[in-house]
């Protein structure tokens, strides 16, 4: 009938009433969340509130107990392994613990998708891996080392390089700047913004660093008790009168957020 306005266009990715339980504990309780194409969404929230689980349900690494997850309007929960593998070719993920393969060198980690899924020749894959490592401020000398020989922050950055190396459409970053010094953190923020603004990727990030949240996020959503209790433009984070958000932003012990799990 009427033409859809850009705002009403399909979101790139949407969680619709997603519920996830572990034994008798409900972690996500009918979560509704979406991110528009080419936008960057940041999820904030207390430790143990289910931020990582939110990302894992979207990736199909955890199956929700109820609800739908849609990518470009299509359900991604009940799809074949083959379809999921194809879906993954458009996705880049940084895991909270970096999750580097410890039997492979750093460059082989970064180039893993290129070599094993995309059939890029090793020489070319290595060049591209080193380029991606430079973007996360890791020297080319690091390329031939093994993950266990790197510091935690360096591993995190190598994980980030692995997520962006194939320039995917959708990026998931689980705490990309945790454990980094301010200068490196700023460089990582810039890299993430660059991926979204210049390459048009859609990004979903988790962070505890509110300054970083405001730098990399177009929108910020706060997860609490399994639901999104606040969501708005990044600039409004510090101005909202939502009691949860302001307690979180100001880091007060007193407020509606009781001592967390």
């Amino acid at each position: 009938m009427t033409e859809a306005t850009p705002q009403l266009a399909w979101p790139k990715l949407a969680w619709k009433g997603v519920t996830k339980r572990f034994e008798d504990r409900t972690v996500l309780d009918g979560l509704d969340l979406s991110v528009a194409p080419g936008k960057s969404l940041v999820i904030i929230g207390g430790s143990g509130q289910g931020k990582s689980v939110t990302i894992k349900t979207a990736l199909g690494l955890m199956r929700p107990d109820a609800g739908r997850i849609e990518l470009d309007g299509k359900d991604t929960v009940n799809i074949s392994e083959h379809a999921r593998r194809k879906l993954f070719s458009r996705v880049g993920v940084l895991f909270q613990g970096a999750a580097l393969f410890d039997s492979l060198t750093i460059w082989e980690n970064v180039a893993f998708r290129l070599i094993n899924a995309d059939g890029v020749p090793r020489k070319e894959a290595k060049d591209r891996a080193i380029e991606a490592l430079e973007q996360v401020r890791l020297a080319p000398a690091v390329a031939d080392r093994f993950p266990s020989e790197l510091s935690g922050g360096m591993q995190k950055r190598a994980g980030l390089a692995r997520a962006v190396v194939a320039q995917p459409e959708i990026l998931f970053f689980d705490e990309p700047t945790t454990g980094l010094d301010p200068i490196t953190a700023a460089a990582i923020n810039e890299l993430i913004s660059d991926q979204v603004r210049r390459l048009g990727s859609t990004a979903v990030s988790i962070t505890h660093d509110l300054a970083s949240a405001q730098t990399i996020g177009d929108e910020i959503a706060m997860l609490h008790d399994g639901k999104i209790i606040w969501r708005g433009p990044a600039a409004e984070l510090r101005m909202t009168d939502n009691a949860y958000v302001s307690q979180f932003v100001k880091g007060r012990a007193e407020g509606p957020i009781a001592h967390a799990v």
Binding site: L59, G97, L100, F112, N116, R162
Partner: protein, 276 residues
Amino acid sequence: MTAAEAARQVAKHPIQARNPIQVLGRSALSAVRMVGGVGVFAVRGTIAALSPPWFFNQLLRQFVAIGFFSLPVVGLTAIFTGAALALNIYTGGGRFNAEQVMPQIVALGITRELGPVLAALMLAGRVSAAIAAEIGAMRATEQIDAMRTLSTDPFRYLVGPRLLAGVLMLPLLTVVADTIGVSGGWLVATRVLDFSSAVYIRNTVDFLQGWDILSGLIKAAVFGFIVALMGCYHGYNAKGGARGVGRATTHAVVSSAILIFASDYLLTTFFTHAAK
């Protein structure tokens, strides 16, 4: 362990169970679930091993890890077992004047039974445990999840190559174990007992039939599959961090050992009937 102890053990876990019948029912159920799980895993693994894309680097790595680096343990086990077997059969056979057929019996025992079984047990300890620990640690640190998000099927990258290497390497190791085991018997016979070397070798070679060796190698291929499968299955399904990895390792070794003995008996029965 008594039923009460078992009940207490189960009661410690979050899922409560109150009486021995419940305990029994629960373990029976979980056993059925596990057999089903292993079956599905084995089929998925086999398909991954036999259809492209193949990761040749991984395959080569596993050939070396499973085959080459098991040579010393398998060789040492075989030589001592062959030597001890020869002594035992010689002295035992002496009771009814059958010392002279000792070489034949040693050869038969090694090729049909001890070569494949001992090589498989050494592999269960060495390889099954190592596979379970490696894959279990990858599970615990989300490396398996990460691999999937990198559009690479962990069954093809991790499980398939290990299964193939198990099936192909254990028969080769068994050939080595057979050779070294028989040599162990020969050493004892010629150095400790007063057999002539030429007679020992002629008796062995004339007596052995192709089937003695071949049936041992078929067993070995099955055992190799079991060892790799148990390592992969328990590692892949490891839960609960470092403790879970430890548990997976133990389960892999114990379950491969039991399955090796059970399938050894079944295969031997089958071969005996088939030979008739």
